[in-house]
C-alpha cells in the first residue's frame, strides 16, 4: 500500500466549462489530460493524499489585495472566484494542519495580476496567491511569507503587489525578459525603497535545462530562504519551462520539476501557467504531486524525454552562474541598499505604463510612497486607463505606523474632492476597504 511521507492536500479544479476563447491556451481542455494522468495513476487513492473541494472566494478577500476597476464583479468571472477559492481552501487545510502540504491545481492563473486591476493581463485577472496570502495573514496571523515563482514568465503581478512589503520575500525565476512576455524581471528590480531586497529576480537565458534551474534553486533560493526564515513558503508553480511548451523557450522536464519541488519543500504550491497540455502538464503534475507527498517519482517521464538532447550549453551555464552571483550580491547587501534608497527621501514617485495584453487595455499609473522610517509606508496610486477610467487608490500597509494611517485617510479624503471617477482605500491594519 502506497503511503505519502508528507500528508498532502490537493484542490483539483480544471474548470471544464471555462475558456478565455475557444482556441486560447487558457481553454477547457487545458487540464483534461492532466486529470486523465492523475486519475489513471491513482494518485488520489494514495494514503495521505487528500482531495478538497474548492470554496468560492469572497469579495472582501479580493478587496484586501486588489483595487478592482470598476468593481470586483466586473473583473472576475465565476471561474476566478473558484481558482482563488481553491488556493484559499488548500491554504486553510495546511494552516489548520489537516495536511502537511498542499497543491492547488486550479485554473485560471493569477501571477500577472497587479494591485490595480482594470482587466486581464497574461491570462490573469486576480492574483490568486496574493488573495490566499492576505487571507492567511488576516485569519491566522501569518507574518513572514516567501513566494517562489517558478513560472517561465516573470511574476510581475505578484512583484507589484509585494514591491513595498519587506515581510514578503518574492523570488521569481523565469526566462530572460528580453526574450519573453512580460519583458520585466531583471536583477535590478529589487523592491521599493522600504523593501529593497525582498524582491529578487533570477532571469534565466533561453534553453536553460534541469541543471540550470536546480543550480539557481540550490545557490540562490535555498540560501535566501534560510536567511529570511519565512513562516510559510508558497510556490507559484508554473509549468511552462517545459521543453515542449509552445510559447516559451526553456528545456525543463517533469523530473526537473519534481526535483525542484523536493528541494524547495513548499508548504503550498499553486498552479500558474503551462500550456503544453498533452506533452508536459500530465507528467509535470504527477511529478510535483509525488514530490510533495514525499513519494518516489523517479519513474515519471515524458514519452519523448531525452536528457541529453535538452542539456544546456556551457555558455548557458556560465550565464546562469553569473546571474545567480548578481542576485546573491543584492541579497547580501540588502541592508545597505535599503539605507541608501531611503536616505534623504520623504516621498518616492513611480510612473508606469501597464499593458493588459489579454484585454488590450493600456493603463497609466503614478504611484507615490511615503518613505517612512517606522513602517513600510503608505502608498497611493493614481491610475487611468484608455477606457476612460480614472481612479485614486490608497493602500495603508498591514503594519502601518500611526502617521502613515493618518496620511492615508488624508489622501483618501482629498482625492474624493478631486477629479477621480472612483476613489479606493485599503486600510489593512483595520481590514477595512472603502470606496467612493
Amino acid at each position: 500500500m502506497l503511503q505519502a511521507r508528507h500528508k498532502t492536500g490537493l484542490v483539483f479544479f480544471p474548470a471544464f466549462d471555462w475558456a478565455i476563447s475557444p482556441t486560447h491556451p487558457e481553454r477547457e481542455e487545458r487540464l483534461l489530460y492532466t486529470q486523465d494522468q492523475v486519475f489513471e495513476e491513482g494518485l488520489l487513492d494514495i494514503e495521505g493524499i487528500q482531495e478538497f473541494k474548492p470554496e468560492l472566494v469572497e469579495e472582501p478577500d479580493v478587496k484586501r489585495v486588489h483595487f478592482c476597476v470598476p468593481s470586483v464583479g466586473r473583473v472576475m468571472t465565476e471561474s476566478h472566484f473558484i481558482s482563488a477559492g481553491g488556493a484559499k481552501t488548500i491554504a486553510r487545510a495546511v494552516i489548520e494542519k489537516k495536511v502537511e502540504r498542499g497543491f492547488a491545481l486550479v485554473r485560471p492563473p493569477g501571477h500577472h495580476a497587479m494591485r490595480v486591476v482594470h482587466g486581464a493581463r497574461g491570462f490573469c485577472n486576480v492574483n490568486i496567491e496574493a488573495i490566499m496570502i492576505e487571507y492567511l495573514r488576516k485569519a491566522y496571523g501569518i507574518d513572514k511569507v516567501a513566494i517562489v515563482d517558478t513560472d517561465c514568465h516573470h511574476g510581475d503581478g505578484t512583484q507589484d503587489i509585494y514591491w513595498h512589503d519587506p515581510d514578503t520575500l518574492f523570488i521569481s525565476m523565469h526566462q530572460d525578459g528580453r526574450t519573453l512576455y512580460p519583458g520585466s524581471g531583471f536583477v535590478q528590480e529589487m523592491g521599493g525603497p522600504t523593501a529593497v531586497g525582498t524582491t529578487l529576480n533570477i532571469p534565466l537565458p533561453p534553453q536553460t535545462s534541469e541543471e540550470g534551474f536546480l543550480y539557481a534553486i540550490e545557490n540562490v533560493v535555498l540560501p535566501v530562504l534560510q536567511d529570511f526564515k519565512p513562516d510559510i513558503i508558497i510556490n507559484s508553480a508554473g509549468q511552462d519551462n517545459h521543453f515542449t511548451d509552445p510559447i516559451t523557450n526553456m528545456n525543463f522536464s517533469a523530473q526537473g520539476y519534481a526535483q525542484l519541488t523536493s528541494l524547495l519543500k513548499p508548504d503550498i504550491a499553486v498552479l500558474e501557467g503551462g500550456y503544453s497540455i498533452e506533452g508536459a502538464l500530465p507528467y509535470v503534475n504527477v511529478g510535483i504531486i509525488l514530490a510533495m507527498a514525499g513519494l518516489d517519482y523517479t519513474h515519471v517521464r515524458e514519452p519523448n524525454y531525452d536528457p541529453n538532447s535538452i542539456r544546456q550549453t556551457a555558455q548557458v551555464t556560465r550565464r546562469i552562474e553569473s546571474v545567480c552571483d548578481q542576485v546573491m550580491n543584492v541579497w547580501k547587501h540588502r541592508e545597505s541598499l535599503r539605507k541608501k534608497a531611503m536616505t534623504g527621501k520623504d516621498l518616492e514617485n513611480r510612473t508606469r505604463h501597464i499593458f493588459y495584453d489579454t484585454d488590450q487595455i493600456v493603463e497609466n499609473q503614478f504611484e507615490t510612497l511615503r518613505v517612512c522610517p517606522d513602517c513600510s509606508g503608505v502608498l497611493k496610486i493614481d491610475s487611468s486607463s484608455d477606457r476612460g477610467r480614472e481612479i485614486m487608490a490608497v493602500h495603508i500597509p498591514r503594519k502601518a505606523c500611526p502617521r502613515c494611517v493618518e496620511l492615508g485617510y488624508q489622501w483618501y479624503e482629498a482625492a474624493k474632492k478631486g477629479r477621480y471617477g472612483q476613489v479606493f482605500l485599503q486600510d489593512r491594519p483595520r481590514d477595512l476597504y472603502l470606496e467612493s
Binding site: 479544479f13 471544464f16 471555462w18 481542455e29 482531495e51
Partner: protein, 562 residues
C-alpha cells in the same frame, strides 16, 4: 412469481413475490462454511407447495465472493501488468504471481512502447509450470487503447482456463484499481463458477428451470451467464439488497436516508427521489480498492447484537459481535438485551437480558432500566452521527465544472427508512431524537430479499471519441471504431445509448423498462497552435438502479393494505 434470496452474515432471507405482493418468506441461519446448503434450504422452504413452473425469475445475493476475499481464501492467479513510466507498478502488487512487463500507451491511447511478445511467452510458460489457470492482464491507459491487453491475451492463447482483461472490467481511469479489479475477478472466478453451477444444477433437478440473476453491488442484477465474465461484481451485494428493498417505499420527491440495522452492522445509504446514489469510483473491500461499481453505502460496526461494554465509565457499543443477544442465549450484553429491559421486545428470555444489562448497570452505578435506556440512546445517537458524517462526505465530493460548483447541489435527506430486525424499536426513538420523517419499511425483516427480487438489470457504457485521431472507443464493450471528423456529441450519445441497450438486454434486462440516462457528457476542442484540430468527446450512459415493473407495485400496494 419471483424469488429473492439474500444471504447475510447471520441469516439468509428468502421471499416469494407475486403480482399481488409478498406470498411467502423464510429466514434460515447462515452456515458460512456451507453456503450451498444455506441457499438451497432457503429456496426449498420458500417454494414449499408451489408449482415450480409458476416461478419466472430468481435473484440471488450471496456473501460467497466477499467471504473468499476477506478471509483470503482465493485460489492463485497470474497477473501480467504493463505500466510504462509513472508510479512504479511494482507497488501495486496484488499477489505472488505478479509480473510487470514492458510496453506502454499514453493518455491519448497512443502506443509509446510495443508489447514484447517474447517476454509474455516466457511468463506464460512460468505460469503454466506453476499450475496457474486464471490470468489477469492489465495495462496503464488500456481503456484508452486496449490493443496491448488484447495482444497479450492473444499470446497467452487458450492455454489458460480464463483470462481477465483490464479494459473490460470498467471504463474508468485508475490503473491501480484496474489491477485490483482484474485480480479479484480472476481470483473469485472458480469459486463463483463452481458454486452457481451447482446451485443451477440442483434447481434444475427440482424442476426449477428459470433464469437466475445475480445481484451486484450497484443494486442491479446480471444474468448468471454474464456473471462468469464479471464475478467480482457480486461482492458486497448485501447492502445493495437492503437499499433496493427500501426503494418501493421511499417518497418519490424527496431525499431519503436508508438504514438497515442488522445484528452485526448498520448499513446506510441515500436515495434521491427513489434512486440510490452510486459511489463514483468503486468498492473498497479489505485492502483492495476497486473499480467495481457500487451504491454509496456506509457500514458501521453497530447492530442489535453488538457487544456492550463499559470503558472509563462510558458505554461502548461494538464494533464487534460476540454472538447472539443474551436474551437469545448469548453471553455478552447487547442493545437487543436493552430493548428487552425497556419492554420494547419480548419474544426471548427476558431474565437473561436483565442479567446482562445488570452487569453493565453495576459497572456504571446506575439502575438497569436507566442503563438500558442509555445503551439504546447511545446506539441511536451514534447511528445518527455516522449518517451525518456520510452525508457530509457525499456533499464534499469535488466537482470539476464552474456550473456544478456554483450550483452547489447539496444532499439533505428529510426522510428515514428503516429495515432490519430491530427496525421498529429503533424507529420510535429516531422519531424522538431527530427531525427525520421516520418510517419502517414493511416486512422490515426480509426487505433485503424483497429488494434483491425486485432489482432491475443495470449496466454502464463509457464512450470516448477523439476526432483528431478519428477513433471512437467503448473499452468495456471491446469496441474501437473509425469515425469521421464531423462526428458530434449527439452522434456519441446516440451510439452510447445503442451500445447500452444491447448490453442491458444481453445481461437480462426487460426491453420495455430500460431507464437509460446520461451520467457524463463532456466535449473539448482539441487545439494545436491556434487551430482546432478535433474534438474530444466523453460520454457515459447507464441503466440506473431501480425496480422491475409489475411486482414492485404489488408489494407496495399489499404493504399499504396491511
Amino acid at each position: 412469481m419471483i424469488i429473492g434470496l439474500d444471504v447475510g452474515g447471520t441469516y439468509a432471507d428468502a421471499v416469494l413475490l407475486g403480482p399481488e405482493g409478498l406470498i411467502n418468506f423464510v429466514k434460515v441461519s447462515t452456515d458460512p462454511s456451507d453456503l450451498f446448503t444455506t441457499v438451497l434450504t432457503g429456496l426449498e422452504k420458500v417454494t414449499q407447495g408451489i408449482d415450480p413452473l409458476q416461478i419466472q425469475r430468481l435473484v440471488l445475493s450471496t456473501t460467497l465472493s466477499t467471504n473468499a476475499i476477506v478471509q483470503k481464501q482465493m485460489p492463485p492467479v497470474g497477473m501480467i501488468v504493463s505500466s510504462g513510466p509513472g508510479v512504479d507498478a511494482g507497488l501495486y502488487r496484488t499477489n505472488d504471481h505478479y509480473c510487470v512487463v514492458g510496453g506502454s500507451v499514453d493518455h491519448r491511447g497512443r502506443e509509446i512502447e510495443p508489447v514484447n511478445a517474447g517476454e509474455i511467452r516466457k511468463i506464460a510458460e512460468t505460469f503454466k509450470k506453476e499450475g496457474l489457470e486464471r490470468v489477469g492482464v492489465v495495462g496503464k491507459f488500456s481503456v484508452r487503447n486496449p490493443s496491448h491487453e488484447l495482444k497479450i491475451a492473444e499470446i497467452l492463447g487458450d492455454r489458460f482456463e480464463k483470462v481477465f482483461l483490464g479494459h473490460r472490467v470498467s471504463g474508468n481511469l485508475n490503473f491501480p484499481r484496474r489491477i485490483a479489479t482484474a485480480f479479484l475477478n480472476a481470483a473469485v472466478y472458480p469459486i463463483h463458477k463452481n458454486f452457481f453451477e451447482a446451485v443451477k444444477k440442483s434447481l434444475e433437478k427440482k424442476g426449477l428451470k428459470v433464469p437466475i440473476h445475480i445481484l451486484k453491488a450497484d443494486g442491479g442484477t446480471m444474468r448468471f451467464e454474464s456473471s462468469m465474465d464479471f464475478p467480482g461484481q457480486t461482492i458486497l451485494s448485501g447492502p445493495a439488497a437492503s437499499v433496493m428493498g427500501a426503494i418501493a417505499f421511499a417518497s418519490p420527491e424527496t431525499e431519503s436516508l436508508v438504514l438497515d440495522i442488522g445484528g452485526t452492522t448498520t448499513d446506510m445509504a441515500v436515495l434521491l427521489n427513489q434512486v440510490p446514489l452510486l459511489n463514483p469510483l468503486g468498492i473498497t473491500l479489505d485492502c483492495h480498492k476497486t473499480l467495481i461499481r457500487s451504491l454509496e453505502t456506509h457500514s458501521i460496526g453497530l447492530g442489535g447484537d453488538s457487544a456492550v461494554r463499559v470503558k472509563d465509565g462510558r458505554i461502548v457499543i461494538g464494533p464487534d459481535r460476540m454472538g447472539p443477544a443474551m436474551a437469545y442465549g448469548g453471553s455478552t450484553p447487547t442493545p437487543t438485551d436493552a430493548l428487552f429491559v425497556l419492554g420494547k421486545t419480548s419474544n426471548g428470555d427476558r431474565e437473561k437480558a436483565v442479567q446482562g444489562i445488570e452487569s453493565v448497570a453495576g459497572a456504571l452505578g446506575m439502575d438497569p432500566e436507566q442503563t438500558a435506556y442509555r445503551i439504546f440512546d447511545a446506539a441511536c445517537t451514534h447511528i445518527l452521527s455516522e449518517a451525518r458524517e456520510m452525508i457530509r462526505r457525499i456533499n464534499s465530493k469535488p466537482v470539476y465544472t464552474v456550473r456544478e460548483l456554483w450550483e452547489g447541489t447539496c444532499v439533505k435527506p428529510t426522510e428515514m427508512l428503516i429495515l432490519g430486525g430491530p427496525a421498529q424499536c429503533f424507529a420510535e426513538h429516531f422519531r424522538e431524537i431527530s427531525d427525520y420523517q421516520v418510517r419502517v419499511v414493511p416486512h422490515w425483516g426480509v426487505a433485503n430479499a424483497v429488494g434483491a427480487a425486485l432489482a432491475r438489470t443495470t449496466c454502464e457504457v463509457a464512450l470516448l471519441v477523439d476526432t483528431e485521431q478519428g477513433i471512437a472507443t467503448a473499452p468495456e464493450e471491446g469496441i474501437s471504431e473509425r469515425v469521421g471528423r464531423n462526428f458530434s456529441r449527439d452522434d456519441a450519445l446516440k451510439k452510447a445509448f445503442e451500445l447500452l441497450r444491447k448490453k442491458a438486454l444481453e445481461k437480462g434486462a426487460d426491453p420495455e423498462a430500460l431507464e437509460m440516462e446520461v451520467v457524463e457528457d463532456l466535449q473539448f476542442n482539441m487545439v494545436q497552435g491556434f487551430y482546432t484540430t478535433g474534438k474530444n468527446i466523453r460520454v457515459k450512459v447507464q441503466v440506473q438502479p431501480g425496480l422491475i415493473r409489475g411486482f414492485s407495485q404489488g408489494v407496495k400496494h399489499a404493504a399499504s393494505q396491511a
